[in-house]
Amino acid sequence: MKKFSISSLLSQLLLLFFVIIWIIPTFGLFISSLRDKDLLAISGWWTSLTTTEVNEIYRMSGMESQIEEDGYFKIKGKLFEDNSGKKIESFGITSKKINEFNIGDVAVFKDESEVLLDEDGNYEWRSKTEFKKKKGKRLFTTSLSPPAFTFENYREVLFKEGIGRAFVNTMAVALPSTLIPLIICSFFAYSLTWMKFYGRDTLLAIIIASLVVPLQMSLIPILTIYNDFGALFGVAAKSYPGVWMAHTGFGLASTTFLLRNFLKSLPNEMMEAAKVDGASHYDIFLRIIIPLSIPAFASIFILQFLWCWNDLLVGLVFLDQVPSEIILTAKLKELLGSRGENWEILTTGAFVSMTVPLFIFFALQRYFIRGLVAGSVKG
């Protein structure tokens, strides 16, 4: 008995280890997307619950704001907005010694002007002689920032970086690219299963062969067809309908195959009885097949939808990379190149692109898994 419980404990620990490894990357991304962008750039997301030491450079105001008081010329001001909760620890007046003074110390510049700073960033810069420069002097601060979480990154990414529009575009690509194959393949699968015609077995064999043909085999010829078509009719070669049909083409074999496997499992007697009652194939399809196939449709819908939502290559080749057509994955790739250092934009953008798949995943996991298992055990 004791041996069993040790081995059980070991398996639990091992599984926990795998779970932690698997969740950490996504978790880190999620946390980072909610962090203040200045903190995100200088500290790891795992420190997001602790205060962070921040080094910054500020410039004080110039001569316009000086006042005369107690025999001094004074410039008063605030280095940063006080809503951040940031507390200055130490400061300096040259870039060589940024920690030279503590709060409460009086720092003296070369021109004998003095500066006083409190931890909230309020400063008083005074001098016996009048200030003559338009620009104020620089202060180097070292402060402690409390944890800061914000939705600001999401607002920025959705409306300023064009991710919001890319989200709409992706939806406009993925929905028809899922529904069109579902419509035409359900009729196709029905005829492959329940109608007798010459060449049916050959067609089925072609479908099975097409299942594994890499889409790279199709890219160049289809691009040529689209270009010729566009030139011939004077329309854009790259367009939404073009992408829908490309996705339909690439998803056709697997959709048909999965649906046929499902339809084959339905009892033959039901169709025969309906036929005897004078129902046409279309009647049978609408009244019997569709209601019975809802779970299968759901699984296939999810698989194909996720495939189209997550696709990069098809959207890259068959759509223009302009704001009105670019899809999320292509936009993310573009941001990786142009905003590679702006992690607040990348993490947030990536998380926005994951919202729909994650929603489907958590809400409809059962259908998703069922589709995958059905597709794999056969194929």
């Binding site: 398996s11 698997w22 990357p25 880190g28 991304l29 995100l40 790891g44 529009r165 709409v168 406009a172 929905l175 028809p176 035409i184 009729f187 196709f188 005829s191 015609f197 077995d201 089925l204 064999a205 479908i207 099975i208 299942l211 043909v213 890499p214 790279q216 085999m217 199709s218 160049i220 010829p221 040529t224 067809i225 939404y240 309908p241 049909m245 083409g249 048909t256 046409s280 194939h281 279309y282 009647d283 997550n310 696709d311 990069l312 290559l313 080749v317 009105s324 999320l328 994955t329 993310l332 790739k333 990786l336 990348l346 990536a350 994951m354 798949p357 995943f361 996991q365 794999s376 194929g379």
Partner: protein, 327 residues
């Protein structure tokens, strides 16, 4: 194009296909029996109505392109002049091509094997633990997100800052805290391939996991009970009962992931764009589709090389299908 226009054409596009099937079948149902009289004739028109859209799509997007790509591989960059085996000779002598095919082979060796292995181990662990289904959900989750999204997630893990800065990438932070120098992981030739493969394994393990979980349930409980009563350790059961029992499933998953890995493109495109010697065939092909105005001959050769990789699987599937038809 405004969003409103977009919504409109989306509806129009979907409606078009529904209308096609509904109207053509309605006409057949209403007038077919009267004018065509014979049921068989009506039936064959119905078959044509049902099959045509799918067949046209299949022909334009799969069948014709396969033959066209083969033809183009023997033609010049514009697809106009016949050049014989020139493009193939170019490929064999091109260092980029050799590098890509080598990388592809390593990917094919490492990713399906490790994903299948992890999937099997985790499925087996999770099957016996009360919180196993939650664990499975978590490990399966990367399957739902895009390769590019996963790329961003992992690029953040591999992020490199100079040694004088605070590391914000998890991997470098760990390395630094252990007292080593931070590394720009994605730029170290040869090893960077493995850092990219880790992403794919992270994703595909979930696929293997769910399929194995389904398959594990088919193992007779009595057999496992009997083994336990006889005092077999869990490890012994794993190797002597579970693995032999799931042999078929292991093979299926392994081929499935192999097919996915063969055409891997997004991860490398997003992470390194094939630089620092990480290129694979699909990336090189994409490159040649547009490099210097595009070279359809070289691009086609690369597509064919990828295709050659799946031909054994294709043949095996067809063989299995024939066997099933006979029964």
């Amino acid at each position: 194009m405004t969003i409103l226009n977009l919504v409109f054409i989306v509806f129009l596009g979907i409606l078009f296909f529904i209308a096609y099937f509904h109207i053509s079948n309605y006409i057949l149902d209403t007038y077919g029996n009267k004018t065509l009289k014979r049921y068989n004739f009506e039936n064959s028109i119905r078959v044509i109505v049902f099959i045509t859209p799918a067949f046209i799509v299949l022909f334009i997007f799969i069948l014709y392109p396969v033959f066209e790509t083969i033809r183009l591989s023997f033609y010049d960059k514009f697809g106009r002049e016949f050049v014989g085996l020139y493009n193939y000779k170019w490929a064999i002598n091109d260092p980029e091509f050799r590098r890509s095919i080598l990388n592809n082979l390593v990917w094919l060796l490492v990713v399906p094997t490790l994903s299948t292995f992890f999937g099997l181990v985790i499925a087996n662990l999770a099957d016996r633990i009360w919180w196993g289904s939650i664990a499975k959900s978590i490990i399966f989750m990367p399957m739902a997100i895009s390769f590019v999204g996963a790329g961003v997630i992992w690029k953040f893990i591999y992020e490199y800052r100079g040694p004088e800065n605070t590391q914000i990438g998890l991997l470098n932070a760990i390395i630094v805290s252990l007292g080593y120098e931070p590394q720009a992981w994605l730029t170290i030739p040869m090893w960077n391939n493995f850092f990219l493969m880790a992403i794919m394994i992270w994703i595909q393990t979930g696929l293997a996991l769910v399929i194995f979980s389904a398959a594990l349930r088919s193992i007779p409980k009595e057999m496992l009970e009997a083994a336990r009563i006889d005092g077999a350790s869990e490890l012994k059961i794993f190797f002597s009962i579970i693995i032999p029992y799931l042999e078929q499933t292991i093979l299926v998953i392994w081929t499935l992931i192999t097919i996915i890995v063969l055409r891997i493109f997004d991860i490398i495109f997003a992470m390194t764009n094939g630089e620092w010697q990480t290129g694979v065939l699909a990336n090189l092909m994409y490159d040649w589709m547009f490099r210097g105005g595009g070279d359809s001959g070289r691009g086609s050769v690369l597509a064919i090389v990828i295709m050659i990789g799946v031909i054994p699987i294709l043949a095996w599937n067809l063989y299995k299908h024939r066997q099933e038809q006979k029964i």
